[in-house]
Subunit: 168 residues, 2 copies
Amino acid sequence: MRPEKRTTQTVPTPLAKTARRIMSTTPFAPRGDKKTIEEGLALSPKFDDKGLITAVTCDHLTNEVLMVAYMNEEAFAETIATRQAVYFSRSRQKLWRKGEESGHVQKVKYILIDCDQDALVLKVEQIGGACCHVGYRSCFYRSVKDTDALEQAQAEKAYDPAKVYGKK
Amino acid sequence: MRPEKRTTQTVPTPLAKTARRIMSTTPFAPRGDKKTIEEGLALSPKFDDKGLITAVTCDHLTNEVLMVAYMNEEAFAETIATRQAVYFSRSRQKLWRKGEESGHVQKVKYILIDCDQDALVLKVEQIGGACCHVGYRSCFYRSVKDTDALEQAQAEKAYDPAKVYGKK
């Protein structure tokens, strides 16, 4: 008599269950214990309850923060594979291949991950010299003056969004 | 006959309702329309459905990203007022005055905000020269080698966490 078909092994904890589920659909390593995540060399990114991880994108030469965006598992894996930045647009709820409309793609030089592996830093070459849809080099073109007031930190736009994206 | 007591004005949209609620409890400006948020000089931060905004903390001289954390309205207001970084700890669900245990406080030189006002960049002087609880100068001490592998990006720890935090 043949044994009953076993499709899964016994899973002792919710963490292991989650990790195995992720392994079956993504190329990332499963989450281990705290010490392994913090001190090990396995890539075990933590995606939040919406399936996203925070990505901070910086100019690879100046370190300037250009933008903050989010990736799901698919976006992160595609970014690693293609070396061009792919995010997940929370407003449009779909993959966002940065520059697909504007041509302002981001060539990824390297990617850093933080201690608990729930945030990324991308060091990129920003094609076109500007990343922000408003027209500035960086999305961070204003500084906080007080709790209700900002001041301009980048004086000039780097390009005219109306020309790149069309009048909207 | 006295008119019925009116405690609120007519609120035409959910956005205006939210904005007014925030105004009554925080010092931030209400959210306006897209153009005002993106091109204006009112600080109208957008907190997510958990009441948090992403904060990227960088060394003010080198621009190096030191850490990514989150602030609620109280943490952000206190950071502006005291010029020392205060976050909201998601794991402990309380205000996290960075350095209160280690002494590694962050003196905030300036704060930038992005186009849609849902992410912050803090430029700080990191007292003690290191921000990460694991012991490194920055939390981003490893780089992504492949979808399941990392490599060390910072060779040496800047301090011994066991000495600063005690054996845990």
